[in-house]
């Protein structure tokens, strides 16, 4: 039973890698200087800004909530936090669009579509906080509470207690969440297409538009950007996991459940 599903899974999961291979194949001979235009450069800057802001905010708020809810055993808030997970990103984007463009109290605070992409960030944070919460709260659930008690009785200051008794165990789920969110947010179309502006556009939006307009004449630009971006994130993933590998293995082995 498990063997056949394993093979099927492997075939399905090989597809993205096949896709990347095809991107490499397609971009052979591409004149990379074509990418050096104003639109792409502005796009890179705004993408980094939106991605990092939304990701870091989500990680911080999600972790804070997981910690608070775990410590205070606030189960009603935990179940309320599930709500945004029921809303597809597209729908969330549209709900936020309505909030900031209709006759709501927040109307006029800032525009739904404006250059700073504030509503894009807000939508992502609202959607991703529950995801981070889910990743982190599991870790708290399995964490041996004795470590925290130990840190307290060892006369460590509160910040140090967190640093030695919680942080080491959070590294893995936070690292996982960080890259999942960065990969997802940095090259997506749905949310920024609804809430973004025509300049600067996020990478995913610009790439999709260049790909589909003008009879695929600019397709190679998009392929090249998709490839670079994938490799860029891939390098980041490999580097960050390699750098933390020793530490994570240490924790895994020495941990008492």
């Amino acid at each position: 039973m498990s063997r056949s599903s394993l093979w099927l899974s492997l075939v399905v999961l090989a597809l993205p890698f096949t896709g990347v291979t095809f991107l490499i194949y397609e971009t052979v001979g591409f004149n990379w200087s074509e990418l050096n235009d104003e639109a792409w450069r502005a796009s890179l800057a705004v993408t980094l800004y939106v991605t990092l802001t939304s990701t870091l905010l989500s990680l911080m708020i999600g972790t804070w909530l997981a910690r608070t809810i775990y410590m205070k055993r606030s189960s009603w808030l935990a179940s309320l936090l599930k709500w945004p997970m029921f809303v597809p990103h597209v729908a969330a984007a549209y709900l936020f669009y309505l909030l900031f463009s209709g006759g709501f109290p927040v109307y006029g605070l800032f525009e739904a579509n404006e250059r700073n992409h504030l509503v894009v960030i807000l939508t992502y944070v609202w959607k991703e906080v529950p995801f981070v919460f889910l990743m982190v709260v599991g870790t708290y659930g399995q964490l041996n509470h004795g470590y925290l008690d130990m840190a307290k009785t060892l006369q460590l200051k509160p910040l140090e207690q967190f640093r030695v008794a919680e942080w080491p165990f959070l590294v893995k789920p936070l690292l996982d969440s960080f890259w999942v969110l960065v990969a997802f947010i940095s090259f997506a179309y749905e949310v920024p297409a609804l809430l973004g502006v025509t300049f600067p556009e996020l990478l995913g939006v610009l790439a999709y538009e260049r790909l589909t307009t003008g009879l695929f004449l600019n397709a190679f630009e998009s392929y090249a950007v998709a490839l670079i971006w994938t490799l860029f994130i891939f390098t980041g993933v490999v580097a960050s996991y390699a750098l933390t590998a020793k530490q994570r293995r240490r924790i895994e082995r020495g941990m008492r459940r």
């Binding site: 307290k152 060892l154 530490q247 240490r250 895994e252 082995r253």
Partner: protein, 295 residues
């Protein structure tokens, strides 16, 4: 100059875990809290450490109430069943972390005192369970506590390692003139390590006393049978077949002193020594007396 617990109450949901505990532990004493699981002994320990709130009563240290003092300012450290060394740090770093001025030299001294010299750079998982527990003990001492709480620290160890660690802890705590409170369900262990023992039963103090018991009234006597009183191993004892006015009452249904085992016959109130060597006769009654100048 002591740890004073008075009127300590704690409820969990609809159950009284501790219903009015009064206990005074003088400075420099190793005190054992004995009880079956659910008797509230660990909860009491956590209350003293500040890890648990209490519903009524006070905990004072040298006449200063500890109420509202967070655990990390109480100067009370703890050793639990599991060593709980922080896995992202080396063995030595775990100890350094606890020293007040983060001194590696100091940590190395502590490691030597728990008989693990030169293991500063070892990884946590490279140490055996017993060694990890020793590091944990060194770490608890390194934090310069005035009181150390021992929450069944020997439970997960093999018998050999257990008695080794029991001796190590007892001797070091004595030498450093620390006050220690040991929680255990093992009466013999309490006798072995502690100066005085308190028996906790469903949230009450049943009785407090010393492992070496002088002849007393029948009622306390009964209590000490419950308590499992025994002779402290270092107590020197005279054994005679004739009762004397200051005979010790041997208070455990089955006790051990030195290399000999004794049995208490409740019906006759006598002690029967079950000898391991030829100096005692099987089945014969002996009366025990503490030697002059003993504990």
């Amino acid at each position: 100059m002591s740890l004073v617990l008075s009127g300590i109450r704690k409820r969990f949901k609809d159950r009284d875990v501790l219903s009015g505990i009064d206990l005074t532990i003088p400075n420099g004493e190793i005190h054992a809290l004995v009880g079956v699981s659910g008797s509230g002994k660990s909860t009491l320990l956590r209350i003293i450490a500040g890890l648990e709130t209490l519903d009524a009563g006070t905990v004072t240290w040298e006449e200063l109430p500890l109420h509202g003092v967070p655990p990390h300012l109480r100067r009370i450290t703890m050793l639990s069943q599991s060593p709980l060394l922080f896995p992202h740090l080396t063995v030595g770093e775990n100890v350094t972390l606890a020293t007040p001025n983060r001194s590696r030299e100091e940590a190395e001294v502590w490691l030597t005192r728990v008989k693990l010299p030169g293991r500063y750079d070892a990884e946590v998982h490279e140490l055996s369970g017993g060694e990890q527990q020793r590091v944990s003990f060194a770490r608890a001492l390194a934090a310069a506590p005035r009181l150390i709480l021992l929450d069944e620290p020997f439970t997960n160890l093999d018998p050999g390692l257990k008695s080794e660690l029991q001796r190590l802890i007892r001797d070091l705590v004595r030498e450093l003139e620390l006050t220690a409170l040991l929680v255990t369900h093992d009466r013999e262990e309490a006798m072995l390590v502690a100066d005085r023992v308190t028996l906790l039963e469903t949230g009450h103090v049943r009785v407090t006393g010393t492992p070496v018991l002088l002849s007393e009234t029948e009622s306390t006597f009964g209590d000490f049978v419950e308590l499992g009183g025994a002779f402290y191993p270092s107590t020197e004892i005279d054994v005679s077949t004739e009762p004397t006015s200051d005979s010790l009452v041997l208070v455990r249904p089955f006790i051990r002193f030195g290399h000999h085992f004794g049995e208490y016959r409740r019906s006759t109130g006598e002690y029967v020594i079950l000898p391991r060597n030829e100096s005692f006769e099987v089945g014969k009654t002996y009366y025990l007396r503490q030697k002059q100048g003993g504990i």
